[in-house]
């Protein structure tokens, strides 16, 4: 058991609240900035990185790279304008991939 290092990456308005909860935050404005922030955080040993949906949806390279490893966990969070339904869709996608069908609707 070791200490988890937690970070949040996203636009300033969305991640400012994470700062109050004691999470390291990186406010970014573009996808490139977000990607390099995530890379830096991973190198710095952060295990859990929350990323706003607006950025994580285009970070397929990074998410695929770490998909098979237990850490770091790159987790989408809604941004200020609310959830885009991306994370919920991911749950359904995982379900369909594993079981072959979405049994939540049945």
């Amino acid at each position: 058991m070791s200490e988890t290092k937690i970070a949040a990456v996203g636009d300033r308005a969305s991640v400012i609240l994470f700062h109050t909860a004691g999470v390291t935050t990186r406010d970014v404005i573009s996808l490139e900035e977000a990607e390099s922030a995530v890379r830096e955080l991973v190198v710095a040993g952060y295990n859990v990185i929350f990323i706003t949906e607006a950025f994580i949806k285009d970070m397929t390279d990074l998410t695929e790279k770490y998909r098979r490893e237990a850490y770091p966990a790159l987790i989408p969070i809604p941004d200020r304008s609310g959830s885009m339904g991306l994370a919920e869709k991911k749950v359904i996608d995982n379900m369909e991939k594993a079981i072959g069908t979405n049994i939540f609707d049945k």
């Binding site: 058991m1 988890t4 609240l17 109050t20 998909r67 237990a70 969070i77 809604p78 995982n94």
Partner: protein
């Protein structure tokens, strides 16, 4: 049609042995797949539940922060939130689910800190509510992180195992059964032709 093989007894025995191994492997993999699917269902249900809760609370908290920013102004808001009100402490480890190493994050019990880190005189009530919401959602966020990652990893592994099970069941095992049938038919055929030849020879000898 089975692959071109030598129709010998040795080949037949070897194929039979391979078939037995393949059937045992198939059964084991199928069991693994069933158990993994059972575990996956538990995690994915929890994942959906947590995801809905977290999305709702976070969106609400962020909307409240936006309201607070509108009331107080950006610089006052930044100043108010400069000092963290809590420290997000958690411990991480891994656990083994059907030989897949998945994350396991546990929130540490921490001592109560001052609930709001700023002066209440100049701050908006929306900000108070948002800060408290954020603090309360943190344990759920961490649980979500480990559950969601577990689901990602399990779904990948389940897909892989399903492909293996199907390949064994519909390709390898079927092919080997065909091969065994082909070899035994060929051997029986040889046997019959041998018998007829002997009978013929016997007749010929009688005639002499």
């Amino acid at each position: 049609m089975a692959k071109r093989v030598n129709s010998t007894r040795m080949e037949l025995t070897r194929t039979k042995k391979r078939l037995a191994t393949a059937i045992r492997g198939h059964k084991l993999l199928k069991d693994k797949q069933d158990e993994m699917a059972r575990q996956f269902m538990i995690y994915i249900r929890r994942n959906r539940e947590l995801r809905r809760e977290v999305d709702e609370i976070l969106s609400r908290a962020m909307a409240k922060t936006a309201m607070a920013e509108a009331e107080m102004g950006t610089s006052a808001l930044n100043e108010a939130l400069l000092v963290p009100s809590a420290s997000a402490k958690a411990e991480y480890d891994t656990k083994n689910i059907m030989s897949i190493i998945v994350p396991d994050i546990k929130k540490k019990d921490e001592k109560e800190t001052a609930s709001l880190p700023y002066s209440l005189i100049f701050s908006s009530e929306y900000l108070d509510s948002a800060t408290l919401d954020m603090k309360s959602v943190m344990p759920k966020l961490l649980e979500l992180a480990s559950v969601e990652k577990t689901c990602d990893m399990l779904s990948d592994e389940l897909e892989r195992t399903r492909r293996r099970v199907n390949a064994l069941e519909y390709v390898l095992i079927t092919e080997m059964k065909d091969t065994i049938k082909y070899i035994s038919m060929k051997l029986e055929d040889n046997e019959r032709s041998n018998l007829t030849r002997l009978m013929k020879v016997k007749d010929m000898m009688k005639e002499e």
